[in-house]
């Protein structure tokens, strides 16, 4: 690792090329630039997760840590190229003083040419991620409502500021639930009248799952409190026996439906690295996420609420 103190974006860029040349490996084959907008508390985990994702997606990772509290306006950087951490490059930068407001100016000379740019806020993204000097450069913007103290408020904020190309890691977290639910309904079943999502406390993931089920199946969905961890059960209420998927331990789920023996399936919760790997697989807007966020809007209007079994919807 090389440390550059009181430096500039241009100097960092030329240092990367020097390191690359010394290794005899020019920066080809990298598929994107990932901008990570972190703070000191999240930067270590976020960098680790991004490095894990770089095993699947060789990329340049730029970790930008604003430090407006600093006395001096200056840029410090740590550069790692290649090696144990995978094929990509990682630059962790601290933007001190007034520089904290100008992350974009630091990042621009470091963006790989002609490849996509993805921005990730592991914590506390702006209300409209697409705006601002980072978001405007990025084709994809990844937020993480799961790391906020009030996840529901955070999700609501991102829903209001949604632009195509945004996604949230809470949405990524429920892909395995959605996969299991979708394949469960590939088989014949009775008409589904409603659903329940059981969860430890109000989480963005549970709300998104409820909103997705509600909007796709056009049914009322309630989020019910449980002992956790995370989402512990999804119950589909049919005109006959219910279909349930229970996951009491956060790892293995059991699917129960009428006429079939109970089936177990591994449904582990994923860490940031796994979530980011999935997230970076597709760089086009996730329309289903956008539509689910719009369905989430109905939360406030009473068709979907937390901790309460809601009244049946008129239009079912």
């Amino acid at each position: 690792m090389i440390r550059l103190e009181n430096t500039t974006g241009n100097d960092i860029a030329s240092e990367i090329s020097v390191l690359r040349r010394r290794m005899g490996a020019p920066a080809t084959g990298m598929v994107m630039t990932l901008l990570v907008l972190a703070d000191e508390t999240s930067q270590a985990d976020a960098t680790l997760a991004a490095t894990q994702a770089a095993h699947e997606h060789p990329m340049r990772i730029l970790v930008l840590i604003p430090r407006p509290d600093s006395q001096f306006d200056r840029l410090d950087a740590e550069i790692s190229v290649g090696g144990e951490d995978g094929p990509g490059e990682v630059v962790v930068m601290r933007l001190r003083g007034a520089l904290a407001q100008h992350a974009g100016s630091v990042a621009i000379p470091l963006l790989l040419s002609d490849t996509p740019i993805v921005a990730w806020w592991p914590h506390d993204a702006p209300g409209v991620p697409q705006e601002g000097d980072i978001g405007t450069h990025s084709a994809r913007r990844i937020t993480n409502a799961m790391s906020e103290s009030d996840q529901i408020a955070a999700l609501k904020k991102y829903a209001e500021g949604y632009r195509p190309g945004d996604t949230d890691l809470a949405w990524t977290q429920i892909t395995s639930w959605r996969t299991l639910l979708a394949s469960t309904l590939d088989a014949d079943h009775h008409q589904i009248m409603g659903a329940e999502v059981h969860v430890l406390w109000a989480t963005a993931a549970a709300n998104l799952l409820a909103a997705w089920l509600g909007s796709r199946l056009n049914i009322p969905v309630s989020v019910v409190e449980s002992d956790g961890p995370g989402i512990t059960q999804v119950r589909l209420i049919t005109t006959d026996a219910d279909i349930t998927i229970e996951r009491p331990d956060g790892k293995v789920a059991t699917l129960r439906r009428q006429g079939m023996p109970p089936a177990t399936i591994a449904l582990p919760r994923k860490d940031w690295g796994e979530l980011m790997s999935e997230e970076l697989r597709r760089l086009d807007p996730d329309e289903i996420y956008g539509e689910t966020l719009r369905a989430l809007d109905e939360v406030g209007q009473g068709s979907l609420s937390l901790g309460v079994v809601i009244e049946e919807n008129d239009n079912v």
Binding site: T28, G29, A54, H55, E56, H57, P58, G86, P87, T172, T175, S176, R178, T179, L180, L181, A182, S183, L185, D186, A187, D188, H189, H190, Q191, L213, R216, L217, N218, K251, V252, L255, M260, P261, A263, T264, I265, A266, L267, P268, S277, E278, R282, D286, E287, I288
Partner: protein
């Protein structure tokens, strides 16, 4: 009851297609292939959440196992060879559906027992009467197994479920035997229930070949005899036959590799753009180009074969083919084979395609090299003594290892006046990237369970490839001993000769 699943949306690309309820029966489950490739791939699929929760796996072999012992064997094979991380949770879920049937392939009672086990699984696990039979056994047993399956009532789908057969190469040893094999299997199972696995076609780079050709504007305009001089397809192995003497002797390099892998690669490189990437359209284009392939008239001049001799390879002393255990000292089986194929159509007339494969060669590599014609005029030629192939560009697809693509072109040497040199431009799927890209078997097994056959050659293709290769094999059969070549090199002198006869030379891969 339900017509369309509202949870599925074409635009929801995150949701993978998960196989429906099904059971897979593996014949020859104690063999190397089943242990090292098939079962680990099944675990990896389960780990990626692509298998249904009630998936069942039935092993069929002669060894005396209880279900638990068998599960233990699978456990060990899987934990040693799986690509993704080994999780006991996933394993536990998978192992609940593992059964073992002991029996001889000739024994009708064993198949009755298999029938009983499958019925039980359909009941207890809800596998829905969907059965895939994986023939991980030598082809001489295919006929007896298909007949046993039929007699035991396991081939017909009475309960509305499907029955599919998966077979591995070799698909026969010549046209006649391939037709016989196809007749046997097709007499019991309809053609779209027979899946011939050519694991090469499941490889990421092979799939990428089509993407690079048809999703770009850069290559297709030059993909013809106006610009292409020749194409070289190489599959070289650095190892000898190892413990496969029984399988290999009498088969040889051409049947083992050229008939399937190399001719399939050739078809993908040379075929016209399919109207879609569905099974039917791709197959149609492949068949069309296979039908246009012809051999040279003079097979002595344009083919080569050899046997590796004792020697040193990469610093290790190695045996010759004839000295390998289990190989008769007068064996005429070739371990190196090279042939020239021409394609008679507007796009490719006059462009030779050179296919070569061998064991104990310089290094392990599989690649497709498209070599372009030299630039019509080289203004630099007077000053340059360095490379005679200067200005002849090449586009190389590396199938393995270092999966990726290389473009070769000339560039000026810095500081000199007019000195040029060939340089390469490289695209690699970084090393770690390929680690997480699925193993070919995973993709193929999933496609079987989903019933999506685009990557599986139909029997027409198999027969067409034999039709191309048969005259070469017949010609070679009359020639006696193949030429010896030194281990660790790039094949026998005749291989070099067949190229110099055409005024060309092999690329060093």
């Amino acid at each position: 009851m339900t017509e369309r699943n509202p949870l599925r949306d074409r635009r929801d690309l995150r949701l993978p297609r998960v196989a429906g309820p099904s059971a897979m029966v593996i014949f020859g489950v104690t063999g190397d292939l089943a242990r090292k490739k098939v079962m680990p791939a099944i675990y990896d699929l389960a780990n990626r959440g692509l298998l249904p929760p009630n998936f069942a796996l039935v092993g069929f072999a002669r060894q005396d196992y209880e279900d638990q012992d068998f599960a233990k064997t699978v456990h060990d094979a899987v934990s040693e060879h799986c690509r993704t991380e080994f999780h006991e949770d996933v394993w536990d879920q998978l192992s609940e559906g593992i059964r073992y049937v002991r029996g001889d392939l000739n024994d009708p009672e064993a198949f009755q027992e298999l029938h009983r086990v499958l019925n039980e699984l359909d009941q207890d696990r809800g596998t829905g009467g969907n059965h895939a039979y994986y023939f991980s056994i030598p082809p001489r047993f295919f006929s007896v197994v298909t007949q046993q399956l039929q007699k035991a009532g396991l081939a017909a789908s009475d309960s509305g479920g499907w029955n599919r057969v998966i077979i591995e190469k070799p698909f026969g040893h010549d046209l006649k035997s391939a037709q016989e094999l196809n007749r046997v299997v097709d007499s019991v199972f309809p053609p779209d229930s027979v899946f011939r696995i050519d694991h090469y076609l499941g490889k990421e780079t092979v799939q990428n070949l089509l993407a690079i050709r048809f999703a770009n504007n850069l290559y297709e305009p030059i993909w013809n005899n106006n610009f292409v001089d020749s194409v070289q397809i190489t599959m070289a192995e650095d190892i000898g036959i190892g413990s496969r003497a029984g399988y290999y002797d009498g088969i040889g390099a051409a049947r083992d590799v050229i008939q399937n892998h190399l001719i399939q690669l050739l078809a993908l490189v040379a075929m016209e753009e399919p109207s879609g990437f569905g099974a039917e359209s791709v197959r149609m284009e492949k068949e069309k180009v296979l039908r246009s392939m012809i051999l040279p008239d003079d097979l002595d001049r344009h083919t080569a074969r050899g046997q590796y001799a004792a020697g040193w390879q990469a610093g290790v002393e190695v045996k010759g083919y004839l000295q390998e255990d289990g190989i008769p000292p007068d064996s005429t089986t070739e371990t190196f084979a090279a042939i020239r194929i021409d394609i008679e159509n507007r796009r490719w007339a006059g462009v030779p395609f050179y296919l070569r494969t061998g064991k104990r060669l310089g290094r392990r590599v599989t690649e497709v090299a498209v070599i372009l014609k030299r630039a019509p005029h080289l203004p630099y030629s007077d000053s340059n003594s360095e490379a005679k192939d200067l200005g002849s560009n090449a586009i190389v697809f590396r199938i393995q290892p270092d999966e990726g693509m290389t473009v070769r072109f000339a560039s000026k040497v810095p500081g000199t006046v007019r000195e040029l040199r060939n340089v390469t431009m490289d695209f690699q799927y970084g090393e770690s990237f390929t680690q997480s890209s699925p193993e070919a078997y995973e993709r193929l097994i999933l496609d079987v369970l989903l019933g999506e056959p685009p990557l599986f050659p139909r029997h027409e293709e198999v027969e067409l490839s034999w039709r191309i290769l048969d005259p070469v094999l017949a010609h070679w059969a009359k020639q006696g001993q193949p030429e010896q070549y030194s281990s660790g090199g790039w094949g026998p002198p005749s291989a070099y000769r067949m190229m110099s006869n055409d005024g060309r030379s092999w690329r060093r891969p």
